[in-house]
């Protein structure tokens, strides 16, 4: 647990090699300590937060004056901290008949600030929501009457969420939830406030700074993507190998409620796009049994991207999970009840986050809530499908490791492909691939949807579009070929491109077999290819050489009469 004093000591350290981020901090109360805490916290996550702090209570002047220091500083990020105390003071000073307008007026004021900033700066804004002050003027009745301060305060917080939803560059830092976590007496200390105009207690500063820097990290692409979980006494109570399926604690058995609720939390993370992996010292079949058979398991095997249950070292297993998922160690979290295993992992993989779970499993969730491990600045339907993609990729990779040779692996994938000329159904995707493929693209000729429609009608143009499906899922349309009749004998390969998601599957062989058959059918003698180098397509420099074409000047020729059907493990559908 860090303290303000420790954060302040960070300020004397060397920031010169850390990533600089320019931030403006504007507050209506004194923010010097917050500024120090932010910079000190930034140091711990390798940021050199260069914070320019506006003079106290200058928010409006800095924002509405185009010649202000704020605009001269030109920050990447603006943090605005308006306090509940100042909001209360606005309320106190307003006329009775205006009490009920406080929230609306405040929202309008906040919108004015944001519009003002956005007019002059391309920047993201972080705004603190309001911790609660109940002035106890109406008692519980405050909840029943619009003009109470508490009513207006909660309305501001609610409306701020709506506002944030509609404004992509506006982020809320949830100060209110910190108050909820540590209590009002933890967040605020009257003597500090009276003497310094600071509304945050010294002890709460590290928490507030951490919560703020979490957003900054997330904006800068640093966030968690993967949660790796142990099984015995983490996922359920007891040891599956010893206690057996009936006796592990889940649901109503023993302290099973703690584990069931923990699993619901993991399930929600999975649903929001966090990849879930298992790393457990167990026999795989036994470890999987609860997922398949236990009625109180919330998580099932299809929620898990990678399932590693064996007797190897956990650090090695996590390295393997990493290589399968191909996400950085710094974006992984590992949960294990056993301090010994946690230490092995921490010592071997320093970048991974390993929370020190409490000894009592009933405290797991409350503890994990406080860590704010899964900050994000975006959420879309893509997150959900991306998880699915990772799962499929993971299953493929697991299959690959179980085969000693490549051919067996490819055979085991059960790949099928649909081959069609361009048609009105595949035209949009064909055009999209033509626009976006850079690496596996021999000549990088770009075609729009309209161009593709034109090609479909031409007599001497032969087009092919390939899909690829395997036992794990459908990759959709992955490769396109456009060939043009050059002479009576020669068919020229104008376009050969392929999505990089499906490299190393022998698809080139399958495609060439198809091309040769088509060319022969139409009476050609040669296929003619060309490689036009770009900054990005070096991977296909030797493409035609590898496929057995002969070099002829700047071109590559394949004599169809000599062509031998190439081996591949793809079936035409």
């Amino acid at each position: 647990m860090t303290t303000f004093s420790l954060l302040k000591k960070n300020l004397k350290k060397d920031f010169s090699l850390l990533k600089p981020i320019k931030i403006a901090l504007l507050g209506d109360t004194a923010t010097q300590f917050l500024q120090q805490a932010l910079r000190g916290t930034g140091y711990n996550v390798d940021y050199n937060l260069q914070i320019w702090e506006a003079d106290f209570n200058q928010i409006e002047r800095q924002i509405f004056d185009p010649t202000s220091e704020l605009y001269e500083f030109n920050p990447e990020l603006v943090i605005i901290f308006e306090s509940t105390h100042k909001l209360l003071s606005k309320y106190n000073k307003s006329k009775t008949e205006n009490y009920s307008n406080l929230a609306d007026n405040q929202l309008k004021h906040i919108n004015d600030l944001c519009v003002g900033i956005s007019a002059r700066l391309q920047t993201k804004i972080i705004y603190y929501n309001y911790p609660e002050i109940d002035d106890s003027v109406f008692g519980n009745y405050a909840n029943k009457i619009e003009q109470s301060f508490l009513f207006q305060l909660r309305k501001v917080n609610y409306e701020l969420m709506i506002y944030a939803m509609k404004n992509p560059n506006f982020y809320l830092c949830d100060l209110s939830s910190i108050q909820n976590q540590i209590g009002k007496s933890g967040l605020f200390q009257s003597s500090v406030y009276i003497n310094t105009e600071m509304v945050l207690s010294i002890d709460s500063l590290p928490l507030v700074a951490a919560k703020t820097v979490d957003i900054i990290s997330s904006i800068n692409g640093k966030f968690k993507k993967c949660l790796i979980i142990d099984l015995d006494n983490t996922m359920w109570g007891g040891i599956i190998g010893d206690d057996g399926l009936e006796n592990i604690q889940l649901g109503a058995l023993g302290i099973g409620k703690a584990f069931t609720e923990f699993q619901y939390w993991v399930k929600k993370l999975k649903n929001r796009g966090i990849i879930i992996a298992i790393c457990s010292k167990n026999t795989e079949a036994i470890a999987k049994e609860p997922f398949e058979k236990h009625p109180d398991m919330v998580l099932h095997l299809d929620d898990i991207a990678v399932f590693m249950a064996n007797w190897d070292n956990k650090a090695d297993n996590i390295r393997q999970i990493q290589s399968i998922l191909n996400v950085g160690f710094d974006s992984m979290v590992f949960l294990d009840d056993n301090p010994f295993e946690r230490n092995i992992v921490k010592e071997n993989i320093p970048d991974i986050t390993v929370p020190e779970l409490p000894v009592d499993p009933s405290e797991y969730l409350e503890y994990l809530y406080t860590l704010n491990l899964f900050e994000t600045v975006s959420f879309s339907n893509e997150d959900i499908t991306r998880t699915k993609q990772y799962q499929i990729e993971a299953q493929r990779a697991v299959l690959q490791t179980s085969y000693t040779n490549e051919d067996d692996f490819l055979k085991g994938l059960n790949m099928t492909s649909q081959v069609n000329p361009f048609n009105k159904f595949n035209t949009p995707r064909v055009a999209q691939l033509s626009q976006r493929s850079n690496q596996f693209n021999l000549r990088t000729v770009r075609y729009t949807e309209k161009d593709i429609e034109g090609l479909r009608e031409q007599q001497d143009v032969f087009t092919l579009a390939f899909t690829l499906e395997d036992q794990f899922g459908d990759n959709g349309l992955i490769s396109i070929i456009i060939q043009k009749k050059e002479t009576r004998n020669i068919l020229f390969i104008d376009t050969w491109l392929m999505s990089c998601r499906v490299l190393k599957r022998g698809i080139e062989n399958f495609i060439l077999n198809t091309m040769v058959a088509l060319a022969k059918q139409n009476g050609f003698t040669y296929l003619k290819g060309e490689y036009l180098p770009t900054q990005k397509n070096a991977m296909v420099e030797d493409h035609y050489l590898n496929l057995g074409f002969e070099k002829e000047g700047n071109y590559w020729l394949l004599l169809l009469a000599d062509y031998e059907h190439k081996t591949c493990y793809i079936t035409k559908k």
Partner: protein, 80 residues
């Protein structure tokens, strides 16, 4: 607790908070005598002292001391 003993403890707190090994407080030391002892750091010192001795100062007390001796007397007055 003896006043001199409290002075020693307070001295350690000053060294830690102000990150300065060279601080030697006496009863007569004032804020002007110690580098970085400004109004802002004063609050951090006060909160650290409160924690150490498990006492709470009133807002008024925090403003009232004119030297270290008076601060120590205030701590003693709280039964430390």
């Amino acid at each position: 607790m003896e006043k001199s003993e409290i002075l020693k403890t307070v001295n350690d707190i000053f060294i830690d908070v102000l990150d300065n090994e060279d601080i030697h407080l006496t009863y007569e030391t004032t804020a002007n005598d110690v580098e970085d002892w400004d109004s802002l750091n004063h609050i951090q010192l006060v909160v650290a002292i409160e924690k150490q001795f498990k006492v709470r100062f009133t807002a008024q007390e925090i403003q009232s001391w004119s030297n270290v001796g008076q601060m120590l007397d205030c701590i003693i007055s709280k039964g430390v």
